[in-house]
């Protein structure tokens, strides 16, 4: 008897899907909750590992124009996404050599290590492979005793207190980030995401931690095995996005993008604009999440990555 799989295989229908599922496995019980993936690697269009490696000269200069043309036609094959993303996000200059990049990578890993130690000295749970979801200090800086991991004396410094108050918030969000992916069933992986976000919000205290940054950071943590490398990819992405996350009592940065969107729609489709104006007063808040986390929730994990790739540069 011929199995269904064999028949499907003959028509080649599911070949692409199986390939992708192996890279970013989804928890079986969550399959119904997430959007269907439409991206398929296509031979001759998608940037493959072979094409990628062929785009480097002997000492490591990258023909970025050629690579970008291909990415725009068919995205990046999952097997090399992490490597390519470091260039797309601008972590490395395509005109640098292998040698230059190794050095830079080393320096960056050390710098991240220093920040991590600094944070660890204040809150020892950082870097332990565990993370917290309950507050470690009260709103006015008094320590909350409960695990032994935590703070022992009152925190007077405003920057430190602000940061400490965001740590359990980050934890509460980490357990809810891309929960459909098998990757985050593992507590060590959750802790990796927590560490990167915690350390980022310490370093960029002007912005701190705002919900939605977890959705931006998660792909980096999955694609880049090394935590420091993931951090630097996230840091690069945030250079472009951090203004969206700037919060004041009256507004959130992303709203300036919403008003740009509103202007665009008003110009290209005045009737649609009028309709939207009638519905929500023209604030375009329906698009808030789309622009804040760059369509991560509208598309499946893989499709969102594809969208980011073709939208880069």
């Amino acid at each position: 008897m011929v199995g269904w799989e064999a028949i499907a295989g003959m028509f080649g229908k599911n070949a692409g899907t199986e390939d992708l599922e192996a890279f970013y496995p989804v928890r079986p019980e969550c399959k119904a909750d997430i959007p269907k993936t439409r991206f398929r690697p296509r031979a001759g269009k998608t940037l493959s590992a072979r094409r990628w490696h062929a785009a480097f000269s002997e000492d490591g200069h990258l023909d970025i124009a050629k690579v970008l043309r291909r990415i725009q036609r068919g995205g990046i094959h999952p097997s090399i996404k992490g490597l390519v993303w470091e260039f797309l996000l601008g972590c490395f200059d395509p005109n640098s050599s292998f040698e230059d990049r190794n050095q830079l990578r080393q320096q960056r890993r050390e710098r991240y290590g220093m920040w991590k130690t600094e944070c660890q000295n204040m809150v020892p749970v950082i870097g332990s492979g565990k993370f917290i979801t309950t507050p470690i200090i009260t709103d006015d800086g008094q320590p909350i005793e409960d695990g032994g991991w935590h703070v022992t004396s009152a925190v007077a410094d405003k920057k430190v207190a602000q940061w400490m108050l965001s740590l359990h918030q980050i934890g509460l969000d980490v357990v809810r980030t891309d929960r459909a992916l098998t990757f985050y069933e593992n507590e060590t992986n959750q802790a990796k995401l927590w560490d990167v976000l915690a350390i980022y919000s310490w370093v960029d205290d002007d912005i701190g931690y705002v919900q939605g940054m977890n959705d931006i950071c998660s792909p980096m943590v999955i694609l880049l095995e090394n935590e420091a490398d993931a951090f630097w990819c996230f840091e690069r992405a945030m250079r472009k996005l951090r203004e969206n996350f700037r919060c004041s009592t009256n507004s959130i940065g992303v709203q300036s993008q919403l008003s740009t969107l509103s202007q665009v729609i008003r110009t290209v489709d005045p009737k649609l604009h009028q309709h939207l104006e009638d519905l929500d007063g023209g604030e375009y808040l329906f698009a808030f999440r789309m622009l804040m986390v760059l369509f991560r929730r509208e598309f499946s994990f893989i499709d969102a990555l594809y969208l980011w790739e073709i939208g880069s540069r």
Binding site: R176, R179, S251, I252, L285
Partner: protein
């Protein structure tokens, strides 16, 4: 589907207290142990019946993080009811109620009905806020109060419906000018028309994408 009234609700409270889970339980009758965190504002709707009249609840579910307060505020105006949620296992979410209430009082219309919900009451062994404390807070601030569980569905239906019944009673008592949409109430067929007389008539019943 046609309604006699449409009530707009807003759900507020600290991050992770279960606002989205309460909404999901109410609209879809299911529970997700881990729910995606809400960015900005999300939306749900369901029909209920009060006094034999079909009433549509249009519910805005907000993000809990302090940073998003400016967005949440733009939804208070135009809400007839608010569900203010805390988590009975996390003391700090109860401690923050006063600040939520202050926001609501400042930005909502004065007649907004507020239901205080102590969520996760299925986790009795981890309780950090007693039922009496919840009751007392509600009493001190003129709120309706219930403990509920989005997980077991206990009191979820009741919380949404009791809020609606209170709003309905206020309409009967003539508290609202229902023709004024800023109260978060729309009149459909069979409701008491406002002075301008059933103003949205067929347009609110029709097949528009947002009805």
């Amino acid at each position: 589907m046609s309604y006699a009234y449409l009530f707009k609700y807003i759900i507020i409270g600290d991050t992770g207290v279960g606002k989205s889970c309460l909404l999901l339980q109410f609209t879809d009758k299911r529970f997700q142990p881990v729910h995606d965190l809400t960015i900005g504002v999300e939306f749900g709707a369901r029909m209920i019946t009060i006094d034999n009249k079909p009433i549509k609840l249009q519910i805005w579910d907000t993000a809990g993080q302090e940073s998003f307060r400016s967005i949440t505020r733009s939804y208070y105006r135009g809400a007839a009811g608010a569900l203010l949620v805390y988590d009975i296992t996390r003391r700090e979410t109860f401690n923050h109620l006063a600040s939520w209430l202050e926001d609501a009082r400042q930005h909502a219309n004065a007649n907004m009905t507020i239901m205080l919900i102590g969520n996760k009451c299925d986790l009795a062994h981890r309780r950090a806020v007693t039922t009496e404390e919840g009751e007392q807070f509600a009493k001190d601030h003129g709120l309706i109060f219930m403990e509920a569980s989005a997980k077991t569905a206990q009191n979820v239906e009741e919380a949404f419906i009791k809020t609606a019944a209170t709003i309905y009673k206020k309409i009967q008592d003539g508290v609202f000018d229902v023709s004024n949409e800023s109260y978060g109430i729309k009149v459909g067929y069979g409701g008491i028309p406002g002075p301008s007389g059933g103003r949205d008539g067929s347009s609110s019943q029709g097949g528009g994408c947002c009805n």
